[in-house]
Symmetry: C2
Subunit: 397 residues, 2 copies
């Protein structure tokens, strides 16, 4: 029995595909520090948990396809505090950022159409694109200059008759790069000139360091018809299991079409939306504290990596990832080796090979993505194991 071409083509998650090796390590009694997956360790806000604990409706019913009105209003409030004025009609609540990305891609691109994405990029964009038979065209960026966006001509050279959108992740997963207002305006002008949408994945909005500020695609004047923002509560409230996100645009026709996609799947999870809504009203200190914690983790990981000879990486300004170019040929082989053959005091570490974050074959084979989502004590231990592991691997390979 044959499967569809997209079923054969779709990439196995490079973040998750090495999990059997981690399980194998654990079964041998080895503790694995997981720097491979963006699962924050920060406790989910008690205000959010309280909503689950106190849900008192008799029937766990469908909500509206565009999301519960109370939560749409909550989101209007959340964005307003960021200086982004929206109406509820501009927001459709989704089942996590994943569904928001899928809707954004599908509403602008048909099968065979193209979306330009700077690589390395969040690997699951590949999966969503393959499912929708959309081609992602990679705009290569480089570890050496902190994965900065290339110049206009390089971007424009990728645009063809089938190109429908440019998609950015800002701050970037896996790069940690933050695009400045000037860079966003520059990309938006390219989009205006060529009649493209700009899809901006801003799920790491608050994870931004060194006093930098974040610019949303929704804050570019005159760009309302082109700007699509996708968002999620997963990272900012340490609530990945809630699966609540949203898609936001002031383009009414686009939102009307997106609503039809949303109606097909009926609605996002009901209680999880109510729980997410509680987070909207957290005091500002919640983020101050959280961002301070992540910034010091970033400093720790960056310092540790910089101290290793032969590693190339710039200090990332946002998200909670860092991509490091290693002085070895095959980063995936190194990760498997760490899990299967290396340990210090019965502990080892896991990272995500970066090759899967590139669309261009051959790129990223010598790079790893590390997520700094452990407390500093564990992170220190993990980085020591990483350093000594890399030394030993280079000695033996």
């Amino acid at each position: 029995m044959k499967l569809s071409q997209r079923a054969l083509d779709i990439q196995a998650s490079p973040i998750r595909k090495l999990m059997p090796h981690a399980i194998h390590a654990k079964n041998r009694g080895i503790k694995v520090y997981h720097l491979n997956i963006g699962q924050p360790d920060i406790p989910t806000p008690p205000e959010m948990m309280k909503v689950y604990h106190e849900f008192s409706e008799k029937v766990l019913a469908y909500g509206p396809s565009q999301g519960l009105e109370v939560y749409q209003n909550g989101l209007v409030h959340y964005y307003q505090k960021l200086g982004i004025e929206l109406e509820t009609k501009d927001i459709i609540v989704t089942t996590a950022g994943s569904e928001a990305v899928t809707f954004a891609m599908m509403v602008v691109a048909n099968e065979g159409d193209e979306i330009i994405v700077p690589e390395p990029f969040y690997t699951n964009y590949n999966g969503f694109a393959t499912m929708a038979s959309i081609h992602l065209k990679a705009l290569t960026t480089y570890a050496e200059n902190g994965f900065a966006l290339p110049d206009d001509a390089t971007i424009a050279a990728l645009i063809g008759p089938k190109t429908k959108a440019i998609m950015l992740c800002n701050p970037g997963n896996p790069t940690g790069a933050v695009y400045s207002k000037e860079e966003l305006v520059r990309v938006s002008e390219i989009c205006l000139k060529h009649g493209l949408y700009l899809i901006s994945d801003e799920v790491y909005r608050e994870f931004i360091y060194d006093g930098l500020s974040h610019t949303s695609v929704l804050q570019i004047p005159g760009f309302e018809q082109h700007a699509i923002m996708v968002d999620s509560v997963s990272k900012r409230y340490s609530a990945c299991g809630a699966r609540i996100g949203c898609i936001v645009s002031r383009n009414n026709a686009l939102m009307a079409a997106t609503l039809k996609f949303a109606q097909a799947r009926l609605c996002p999870p009901t209680i999880d939306q109510l729980a997410a809504n509680a987070c909207v009203y957290l005091p500002d200190e919640y983020f101050t504290h959280m961002v301070g914690e992540y910034q010091s983790r970033r400093d720790l990981v960056y310092q540790e990596l910089s101290a290793i000879e032969g590693i190339v990486c710039k200090k990332p300004e946002g998200a909670f990832y860092i991509v490091a170019k290693l002085p070895i040929a095959d980063a995936e082989d190194f990760v498997i080796w760490l899990l299967e053959e290396f340990q210090i005091d019965n502990e080892t570490v896991m990272a995500a090979p970066a090759e899967g974050f590139y669309a261009t074959p051959g790129l990223g084979k010598d790079e790893l993505r590390l997520a700094y989502i452990l407390n500093k004590e564990d992170l220190s231990k993990a980085m020591r194991i990483f350093r000594e592991g890399l030394q030993e691997y280079r000695r033996t390979h």
Copy 2:
């Protein structure tokens, strides 16, 4: 700015698109009995609610892409009680039945491929197919004979080189038709002969009346490589807002590909899975009681409809819907009229025009789907309003 063709093509939900008229009625102080949407009124089991109330993890984390192991095991137990032997590898937990249907369609069919579906069918199949650029080929069935499946030759005549699967809903939404074991075996033989998958949507499995029993596509011997089952907790546990479903197949290659789709969207909601798992262990009396209640509602609605001159419908054997052919030309116009211009003691009733459940243009214009998801007292009132409304509408139109 142009949208994608699929964004333009996708059907607005015929179940939800008339909601503005219902809101308009409510804003005028009129109570609306909703027979238009399959939102059960039965309380969600307290055992399920208890899981939300007692969730005590500090971090609301991602689960595995295939679903939480505890819930996969719970599902193995649930199906075992039904006489269906499965292993956890045969099950991927999904974000509701909606995602399970999407995965099933995408894993067997590419853009431009065809899936045969008896019409009238669950209208959102259209949405999922449009999003995936798959063509649904309608196998027309008729109210006059209770929407029974046509003969082999009629089915085979629809099969072409692009046909990848037949998809059934059993028991059927919106028809209430239940396919016997013999009918399923007949369809499976057609699938075997033509190398097609059979996707069986069994979310209404327990909603089956008059002592009939349900046969799953997973219970047809020798059909393991072709059988794909999609399921959901929404209806059976009155938990539509939990958004938990699953896709089940013993075809290992198909499940491996489906897992890659599942990995792209990371995981279904975490607490909702744990809550769904509590339902697996409910005593059998839960269903006995629930099915008894729905059977008596079906009897009431069927009796009321049968008493109206000119209405054509057979007594449905399953699910909680009935499709009635009315002695009027335009059922949608009638529904809007009920909401905008008719009331008895400040109350009116809403049903779903059946036209949207047909893929063949022009069919179903004189049909309505009624969901019997209200208690019998309300249902009696709703059916009286329906009867008198129809009388008045016919007199004035």
